[in-house]
């Protein structure tokens, strides 16, 4: 017959761990207050990446957690030795679906019609297969046992993140779908055949090999810390770049001279470039008015400079004036 409406929250599973609160008094926290040890024999466990809901500036989007599947509850821990789980999901209330993620290849998600989905990434194809297979089996078993699907939020999932005091409404509503995100329903029934059908639905985007991904994630850690491979501070700040430019040598006399040379060399380069522009014009045997005009357009700033310089000389009565003529133009620079 039809399932009886739950008058009080039923225990999560017949194999409820010993130190969980008795049925009827289960709270969010108490359901998670179970260590891996306490769970005893489990159906599946391993490391997975879990996508964070709220990501701070430059923080990592994914957190690596230790996941444990027992019955139809999926627990996760920040560390296998933790005394309590960071979160759990009642699989009976969620659907297993495929999804796409920009930087991850082996992803899947658990979605709910009311709450935000949980998105996971496995590190290898083998891991992905293993988890999907076990999750499908778990859901199938639950369905076959004709157990009612709970509806209250605390019966569906629980996690530390959600209980963060800053976080008022943890998982209400859906986030806007990413463009290009595709969802495929995976039937919870049918056991192995269901999984086989499932395999076809996964279409990972081309991403680096998971082995490299491990190295990449290690590199990312280093990058987050603002350090290079060997632990040196990278040039993250403009202040460091500035210092590197200004201070070339601990001897201040040498330092000053080095800067003098640099300024001379830059000025020299600028003058050589100007020379090249002039020669392009002067060496043209077939110069026409049109070509000249075009040259003036192409070398606007230089032409303007020249004009100002000649105007000055006219004003001074002509004759060999200051060959540098730097003052009028913001372009060239005075010799130090």
């Amino acid at each position: 017959g039809g399932g009886s409406p739950a008058a009080y929250p039923p225990p999560l599973h017949p194999d409820v761990p010993p130190n969980a609160a008795p049925a009827g008094v289960a709270t969010r926290l108490s359901r998670r207050r179970v260590s891996c040890r306490d769970l005893g024999r489990v159906d599946c466990d391993g490391w997975l990446l879990k996508k964070k809901d709220h990501v701070g500036f430059m923080a990592q989007k994914w957190k690596r957690c230790w996941f444990v599947l027992k019955g139809h509850t999926l627990y996760w821990y920040h560390h296998p030795n933790d005394e309590k789980a960071a979160g759990l999901i009642n699989l009976a209330t969620y659907n297993l679906e495929s999804t796409r993620e920009q930087k991850k290849k082996y992803v899947f998600q658990l979605s709910h019609e009311r709450y935000k989905p949980f998105i996971f990434a496995a590190e290898t194809l083998a891991d992905l297969s293993m988890w999907v297979s076990h999750l499908v089996t778990a859901k199938t078993k639950h369905a076959l046992a004709h157990q009612p699907v709970p509806h209250r939020e605390e019966d569906c999932y629980s996690e530390t993140e959600a209980e963060d005091p800053d976080d008022e409404s943890p998982r209400q509503g859906f986030p806007p779908l990413d463009v290009g995100c595709s969802h495929n329903r995976v039937a919870g029934r049918g056991g192995p055949a269901g999984f086989q059908g499932c395999a076809v639905l996964w279409c990972p985007s081309s991403r680096p090999e998971p082995g490299e991904e491990d190295l990449e994630s290690l590199m990312q850690c280093l990058k987050q810390g603002g350090v290079s491979l060997i632990g040196r501070q990278r040039f993250l700040t403009q202040e460091q770049c500035r210092k590197s430019f200004i201070r070339r040598n601990k001897n201040p006399h040498v330092n000053e001279k080095v800067h003098a040379v640099r300024a001379l060399q830059s000025t020299l380069k600028a003058k050589l470039a100007e020379l090249q522009a002039l020669e392009q014009l002067l060496d043209d045997d077939t110069l026409t008015s049109e070509k000249f005009t075009r040259w003036k357009e192409e070398h606007q700033d230089l032409y303007q400079e020249l004009q100002e310089c000649w105007a000055q000389r006219q004003g001074q009565g002509g004759g060999g004036g200051d060959p540098k003529a730097e003052q009028s133009s913001p372009g060239e620079a005075a010799k130090p």
């Binding site: 491990d214 700040t237 770049c241 070339r248 002039l278 008015s289 060959p323």
Partner: protein, 392 residues
Amino acid sequence: MVPSDLTPEECQELENIRRRKQELLADIQRLKDEIAEVTNEIENLGSTEERKNMQRNKQVAMGRKKFNMDPKKGIQFLIENDLLKNTCEDIAQFLYKGEGLNKTAIGDYLGERDEFNIQVLHAFVELHEFTDLNLVQALRQFLWSFRLPGEAQKIDRMMEAFAQRYCQCNPGVFQSTDTCYVLSFAIIMLNTSLHNPNVKDKPTAERFIAMNRGINDGGDLPEELLRNLYESIKNEPFKIPEDDGNDLTHTFFNPDREGWLLKLAGGRVKTWKRRWFILTDNCLYYFEYTTDKEPRGIIPLENLSIREVEDSKKPNCFELYIPDNKDQVIKACKTEADGRVVEGNHTVYRISAPTPEEKEEWIKCIKAAISRDPFYEMLAARKKKVSSTKRH
């Protein structure tokens, strides 16, 4: 000869331009002379007369000083004064002994791309005895003998030489040099992630082992080996030559590129400003005048991307922007006219080059300078190579 259709005014202008060219040639010669003079002053750190009368040990001290300021020039000086033989073995010995030598300078010299420097690198590595040392022990020895430079290509050359030498001294430990190379990097990164306080996510031994699956030409290295290496690093970090902030072996400027460019200035009214740009040390500096001592603005190129763009007002344009993060402001800053340094508020830098050729050159040089995890790409390529090799 084609009859010219130039107006009298234009002819006069041409005359002026001819005169200007002569002035320029004089300027240029003067500049060259001055540069040579000041450079000489820096290099000699004293009058040229003194040099001839200097005693041998003073010359050696001078040579070391020069080396620490600019390794190539230092070696040249020592060779010219018969204090060092111009062979890779001799120079390698000199560097290996390292007496009075700055380790950063040693690293810089060994990492250079020149054929000769590469030979010196190999001779240097041959002087290291790695037989019967485990990889961590060998790395400890190697990485203490000089300071690993920052540039990816240099690191690649040096670690490749290291891996070859290690495998030569300890045959059979690794299936290939590539395996040794990749594992060495993994160890270096492990060292940094475990011991650098800025790195939050510290890997466990299990993770380290998992990370190196398939590294031995498709096979796995013995777990015990990896675990030992992990423990060794965990218990004792690498001792790396200190960076005391006085490591200034890049005394002389040697920019990748410099020249005039137009920059679209932000703010309420956007205008194009002509600035002298210098690309050096993975950073783009710009100045109002070529002689300005301090840059007007600084654009660190780390994490930036570059693309060509069309602009309605100016030709030959390109942009510097942060990929994947449209709202993030580029971490650049500039000096206001009153000397204050303020954070730039650009999300993009739009720049116009004088000609299409220059635009191409700038884009090429900037791309080369932008570091986008070059290690990762190199490492990934190598790792792919070792992992995809079929098991026997």
